[in-house]
C-alpha cells in the first residue's frame, strides 16, 4: 500500500533531495524541510512529517549521521550530516535519475511532435 504522502513522488526522490541538500550543509530536520520547500518554490507538496521516515532510513543505511546540538536560536536540534557513503550514494542516484529523466523527456518530446 502506497503511503499518501509519497503519491506524487517516485520512490527515492525524497531521499535524493535530502542528500543533495545535506551535501551543501548539515541541517536539522525543520531547516531541511523548509529548505526543500523554499528551493522547490513550494511546487512539491510534501508533508513536513514525511521527511522523518526518510531520514530514519538514511540513518539506518549509514548514508547520513545525526548529532544533537544547540542551534543559533538556542534550540535543541538534531543536525544531520552527509557521510562519505551518502555522498557516493547521492552521485549514483543523481546520475541514474538524470538518465531516467532524459529518457522520459525524449519520449514526451516525441509524443508532442
Amino acid at each position: 500500500m502506497k503511503k499518501p504522502e509519497q503519491r506524487d513522488l517516485f520512490p527515492g526522490a525524497l531521499e535524493m533531495m535530502i542528500l543533495r541538500t545535506l551535501k551543501r550543509q548539515p541541517l536539522h530536520g525543520y531547516a531541511l524541510v523548509q529548505h526543500i520547500k523554499r528551493t522547490s518554490n513550494d511546487l512539491l507538496q510534501i508533508e513536513e512529517g514525511s521527511l522523518y521516515p526518510a531520514l530514519q532510513r538514511l540513518l539506518k543505511e549509514d548514508l547520513v549521521k545525526a548529532e544533537w546540538s544547540i542551534s543559533s536560536t538556542n534550540r535543541r536540534v538534531r543536525i544531520y550530516k552527509l557521510t562519505a557513503a551518502g555522498a557516493r550514494h547521492l552521485e549514483r542516484q543523481v546520475s541514474s535519475f538524470e538518465k531516467m529523466l532524459e529518457g522520459i523527456t525524449r519520449v514526451l518530446a516525441r509524443g508532442e511532435s
Binding site: 508533508e47 514525511s50 539506518k60 534550540r75 538534531r78
Partner: protein, 890 residues
C-alpha cells in the same frame, strides 16, 4: 550500523525520534507565532502541515525493524497464545511427537555410544583392527605372537601394529587382593595409541618385551580411584600381580578405558614380562592365537587402501609359511565397526539400518498423525484465515504463521521427547547391564547425551516441524476468502479439496505401521527360532563356575589335586546329579582352535576350515551337559596322560574329515602333518559353540587328563534350584582354599540368554515389538481420526440421502468405500516395503523367517481388521444419522 546493536539501542533511537519531532513542531509553532499568528491557530497549522504525528513516528520506527526476525517472534508469540487456548489439542500433539522423537533420541544415543563415539585417542580414525578370517569360516579370530611379529615387520612402512590380550587375575597390595581385569599389551601399545599418562608414565618401547623382564603395571583410572583412592604416591609402589612382584609405573587418562569395547579395564601389563616359564610356547607357536591386533595407519591411508596393503603382506606370508597361513585372510576393519568384536562388522549395516530405520518410521507415523490433526484444525480455522486474507494478510505470511505453530509444537514435542528418551535409556541401560555384565569386567556402555545426540534430536525436531506443518500451511495459504466466507459453514468449503491429502496420510500411516509390525513379527519368529535351536546340550539346571588356580601360584600338580577335591566335595553335596570340568563354555568362551592334519591325507579336505575349535573336558562332561554320544565311547579314567591320546569329534567334523567313512578309529593331529596322532573314540551330537548359528560348526573334545589347563570351568547339574547352588559351591571352594578367586559364576541358562546366545535376537525383537505397538496405536488413532472427520463432514449429505430413501447399507457402502480404499492401498505399499526391508536385514533373521508368507498374511489381516474396526466406529455413527437432526443442524 551493526544490526544487533540496532536491536538493543532501539529504545534510544525511538526516543530521539520523538524528541526530534516534538522540537520540529515547536520550532514551527514559534515561527508562526513570531509571524503574528495566535498560538492556538499556530499549533493547529503546524500539526496540519506536519501530517499525522503517530503515523510518521510509526513509519519512521519501521525503518529500524528487522522485519523477518521480528515477525517470526511475533508469529511464535501468537502461536503460543493459540496453542494455550486449546490445551487438549496441544497435549495430544506434543505427546505424539514426544513419543516419536523420544524413541529416536534414545535409540540414537545407544547407537552413538556404540558406533559413533571414537576412541579417546588422537586421530582415532587411523586406528583399525585386523581380524583373521579362515577359509570356510565366517568368524574372525585372533593372531599368534609370531604372526603378529611378521605382520608388524612387513607392514611397518604404512602402519604401526600393536596387540593386546585380555587376562583376569589378582592384584594384591599389602596382602589385600583385588580382582584385576587387565590387558597384556605389546610395548608399543600406548605409543601407537598416542595417549599420555594421567600420572607417572606408560609403558615404553622395549620395556618388558622379553620373558622374564621385570613386571610393570599401568593402572586404569577408575581402578586407581577405587583401589588406590586416587593416591598420587602409588607410582613406584610394589604390588603383587598374580602372585608376582610388580611395580606400578603410572595411571592411564581418565577417559581411556582400553581398546576393548564397552569395558573398563583395570590395568595394563607388558605382554613380554607376563609370559614366562620354560614350557611357554606362546612366543613360537603359531597356533596360540591369543592376540587382538590393532594398527595405527599412516594419515591418508583409507580402509580400502589399508586392506589392499595388508592383503599383500598376507600373500607374502602365505608363501613364507605355507603351512600355517594357508587360506587365511586378514580383514581390516575400522575400530568403530569392530565393536564389540570384529565378527560383528558384517552385521553392523543391518543393525544400524534396523536401529535407525524403525524408530524413524515411528516418527513418520507420529508426524502423519499430527499433520492430519493440524489439517483438520486448519479446516475449522478456515474462516479465520479467510478473514485475515480478506483484510490484506499475505498468503506467505499466513503460511509462516501456521509453520511457526508447527515449529513450536515440534519443539515442545522435542523437549518432551528428549526427557522420555533419557528415561527410556535409564531403564534399558540397567536391563542391558544385567544381561551383559560379567563378574570381572566393569561394564561401561557410554550412551550419554553429547552433541551428536543433541544434533540428531534437533534435526528430528526441524524435519518434524516442516513435515508436519508444510501441508496444512500450504492449505491455509491457498484459502479462497470469498468461497470460505460465502459458505454457510466452514465444513462445506472443505468437501471439495483436501480429501486427497488425508487419503495419502492414511495410506502412509497404514503402510508404515504394517512395515513395523511385519518386521517385529519376523524378528519375533527369528527369536523363537533361536530359542528352539538345537543347542546340543541341556542348559537348564546347570551352574558354571570359572576358576584359575594358576593365578594364585598353583603348579600343575597342585591344580589337578585342587580340582579333584573340589569335584569330589561338590559331588557329595545333596541334590547334585553330576559335576564335571571343562575348559571352554559354549556360547560364552569358545576355547582354543587348532589346525588339523588327517592321517593318510596330506592335504586339507576342501570343506575343512583352516582351524577347528576344541574343548578340554573330563569324562563326566557329556553327562553333566547332556550331550548325546552317537557312536563309540566317552572318555574314561583310563585315558590318562600315559595312555594313547584320544578325541571325541562332533558329527560335522566327522563328516568333514572322513566323508562317507566310519570316523571311529581314525587318527588326526593338531600339531603337524607327521603326528603325533590322536584316535577318534566317539562321535558327539552337533551343537552350538561360539554364538547361535544355523550352520553346523565342526568341533572336537580332548580329555583334560591328557591336556593340562589351569583355567577350567566347573559344571554342576542339580535338581535343586540352580541359582542357590552358587553359594554352596563357593563354600566348598573357601573350605579348600579361601584365596581362590572365582572368575565367573553363572547358570548355563544365563549363558544361553546372554550375548553369545539369544540376547541380540531378544533385543532386536523387543525393540521392534515396542516400536510396532507404538506405530500400530498411532496409525489406528490416525485412521479413526480421518474417518471420523470424514463422517462429520458428510453428516449433512448423509441426512439428505437418508431423507430421500437411502438405507443404512447404502450409507455403509458410501462411507466405507471412501475410507477403506486408502487402507487397502496402505496395506499393499506396506507389504512391498516390508519385503524389501526384510531382504536388507536378512542377517538378523534366522531360519525361514525372512520369507515366511504366513507372518505376512497374519499381520496384514490383523492390521486390516483393526483398521476396519477403527473406521467402523465412526461409520456406524453416520449410519445412525437421524435425517431430521442432520438437516436441522445447519
Amino acid at each position: 550500523m551493526n544490526r544487533l546493536k540496532q536491536l538493543f539501542l532501539r529504545r534510544r533511537l525511538y526516543n530521539d525520534l520523538s524528541d526530534e519531532i516534538r522540537e520540529h513542531l515547536e520550532e514551527k509553532i514559534e515561527e508562526l507565532v513570531a509571524n503574528g499568528i495566535p498560538r492556538r491557530e499556530a499549533t493547529a497549522a503546524a500539526r496540519r502541515e506536519f501530517g499525522n504525528v503517530t503515523l510518521v513516528e510509526r513509519d519512521s520506527r519501521e525503518a529500524w525493524r528487522w522485519p523477518s526476525i521480528e515477525s517470526f517472534f511475533a508469529d511464535l508469540r501468537f502461536a503460543a497464545r493459540i496453542l494455550r487456548k486449546s490445551p487438549g489439542f496441544t497435549c495430544v500433539v506434543v505427546l505424539t511427537l514426544a513419543l516419536g522423537i523420544g524413541v529416536n533420541t534414545a535409540i540414537f544415543s545407544v547407537l552413538n555410544g556404540w558406533l559413533l563415539r571414537p576412541l579417546p585417542v588422537p586421530d582415532p580414525e587411523q586406528i583399525m583392527i585386523l581380524a583373521a578370517q579362515q577359509k570356510n569360516d565366517a568368524t574372525a579370530s585372533n593372531f599368534s605372537y609370531p604372526d603378529f611379529l611378521d605382520f608388524q615387520k612387513q607392514a611397518n612402512s604404512f602402519s604401526e601394529l600393536f596387540a593386546y590380550e585380555l587376562g583376569i587375575g589378582g592384584l594384591s597390595v599389602k596382602d589385600k587382593a583385588n580382582e584385576f581385569a587387565y590387558a597384556a599389551v605389546t610395548d608399543n601399545y600406548f605409543s601407537a595409541l598416542r595417549i599420555h599418562p594421567f600420572i607417572g608414565r606408560l609403558l615404553i618401547s622395549g620395556e618388558g618385551d622379553k620373558p622374564g623382564d621385570p613386571l610393570m603395571v599401568v593402572l586404569g583410572y577408575s581402578y586407581w580411584q577405587k583401589n588406590f583412592a586416587g593416591d598420587q604416591g602409588c607410582v613406584g609402589k610394589q604390588v603383587l600381580v598374580n602372585g608376582r612382584p610388580a611395580t606400578v609405573v603410572g595411571v592411564t587418562p581418565k577417559d581411556f578405558h582400553g581398546t576393548l569395547f564397552a569395558f573398563d579395564l583395570d590395568g595394563y601389563l607388558p605382554l613380554g614380562a607376563l609370559k614366562t616359564g620354560a614350557s611357554n610356547t606362546f612366543w613360537t607357536d603359531r597356533r596360540e592365537r591369543e592376540l587382538t591386533l590393532l594398527g595405527r595407519f599412516r594419515p591418508g591411508v583409507s580402509v580400502a587402501k589399508a586392506q589392499s596393503l595388508i592383503d599383500l603382506v598376507t600373500a607374502r606370508l602365505a608363501v613364507q609359511y605355507p603351512d600355517s597361513a594357508n587360506g587365511l585372510r586378514v580383514r581390516v576393519i575400522r575400530e568403530k565397526f569392530a565393536r564389540p568384536a570384529p565378527f560383528v562388522a558384517s552385521f553392523v549395516p543391518s543393525i544400524v539400518g534396523l536401529f535407525l530405520g524403525l524408530p524413524a518410521l515411528v516418527l513418520v507415523i507420529a508426524c502423519l498423525n499430527v499433520a492430519n490433526l493440524l489439517l483438520v484444525r486448519g479446516a475449522s480455522r478456515q474462516r479465520e484465515m479467510a478473514i485475515r486474507i480478506a483484510l490484506g494478510g499475505s498468503p506467505s505470511r499466513l503460511i509462516r504463521q501456521v509453520l511457526s505453530e508447527s515449529l513450536l509444537l515440534a519443539f515442545l514435542g522435542g523437549a518432551a521427547g528428549m526427557l522420555m528418551g533419557i528415561c527410556a535409556l535409564r531403564v534399558s541401560g540397567s536391563l542391558l547391564r544385567s544381561v551383559t555384565s560379567t563378574a570381572n569386567f566393569a561394564y561401561r556402555l557410554d550412551s550419554r547425551f553429547d552433541w551428536r545426540v543433541f544434533l540428531c534430536t534437533l534435526t528430528a525436531v526441524f524435519l518434524t516441524a516442516v513435515f508436519v506443518g508444510l501441508w496444512p500451511a500450504m492449505a491455509s495459504g491457498r484459502t479462497d476468502p470469498s468461497a470460505a466466507l460465502r459458505a454457510s459453514s466452514p465444513k462445506d468449503s472443505l468437501l471439495a479439496g483436501r480429501q486427497g491429502a488425508r487419503g495419502v496420510f492414511v495410506v502412509l500411516q497404514v503402510a508404515g505401521s504394517l512395515v513395523l509390525l511385519i518386521i517385529a513379527s519376523l524378528l519375533l519368529g527369528s527369536l523363537r527360532y533361536a530359542e528352539h535351536m538345537n543347542l546340543g546340550f541341556e542348559p537348564d539346571g546347570v551352574l558354571n563356575v570359572m576358576l584359575d588356580p594358576h593365578q594364585i601360584g598353583y603348579d600343575e600338580n597342585r591344580t589337578n589335586l585342587f580340582y579333584r577335591e573340589l569335584q569330589n566335595r561338590v559331588r557329595s553335596l545333596p541334590g547334585i546329579e553330576s559335576a564335571s570340568l571343562g575348559f571352554a563354555v559354549p556360547l560364552m568362551f569358545p576355547g582354543h582352535t587348532a589346525h588339523l592334519y588327517v592321517q593318510g591325507h596330506p592335504l586339507p579336505r576342501p570343506q575343512q576350515p583352516r582351524d577347528t575349535a576344541f574343548n578340554l573336558v573330563d569324562p563326566s562332561y557329556f553327562e553333566t551337559m547332556r550331550i548325546p554320544l552317537l557312536q563309540g565311547r566317552l572318555f574314561a579314567d583310563a585315558d590318562s596322560d600315559t595312555a594313547p591320546p584320544v578325541a571325541i569329534v562332533n558329527q560335522t567334523l566327522a563328516n568333514t574329515l572322513w566323508p562317507g567313512e566310519n570316523p571311529l578309529g581314525q587318527r588326526f593331529s593338531f600339531t603337524s602333518s607327521t603326528g603325533p596322532y590322536i584316535s577318534v573314540v566317539g562321535v558327539a551330537r552337533d551343537g552350538q559353540y561360539f554364538f547361535l548359528s544355523p550352520d553346523p560348526q565342526p568341533y572336537f573334545y580332548l580329555p583334560l587328563s591328557q591336556n593340562f589347563t589351569s583355567f577350567r570351568s566347573l559344571q554342576v547339574r542339580s535338581s535343586l534350584p540352580v541359582e542357590s547352588l552358587g553359594n554352596t559351591v563357593n563354600e566348598q571352594l573357601r573350605a579348600i582354599d579361601p584365596h581362590m578367586p572365582v572368575i565367573d559364576s553363572r547358570t548355563m541358562r544365563q549363558v544361553v540368554d546372554g550375548l553369545g546366545g539369544t540376547f541380540v535376537f531378544r533385543l532386536a525383537a523387543s525393540l521392534a515389538g515396542v516400536l510396532g505397538i507404538v506405530g500400530l496405536a498411532l496409525a489406528l488413532v490416525g485412521v479413526y481420526g480421518v474417518v471420523s472427520f470424514l463422517v462429520c463432514l458428510r453428516t449433512h449429505e448423509v441426512g439428505i440421502r437418508m431423507a430421500i430413501g437411502a438405507g443404512r447399507s447404502d450409507i455403509l457402502k458410501l462411507i466405507s468405500g471412501q475410507s477403506l480404499r486408502p487402507v487397502l492401498a496402505g496395506l499393499f505399499v506396506g507389504i512391498v516395503l516390508a519385503i524389501l526391508l526384510a531382504r536388507a536385514m536378512a542377517k538378523l533373521l534366522l531360519g525361514l523367517a525372512r520369507t515366511d508368507p504366513l507372518t505376512y498374511a497374519v499381520v496384514t489381516i490383523l492390521l486390516a481388521a483393526v483398521a476396519l474396526l477403527a473406521s467402523y466406529i465412526p461409520t456406524r455413527r453416520a449410519m445412525r444419522v437421524d435425517p431430521m437432526e442432520a438437516l436441522r443442524y445447519e
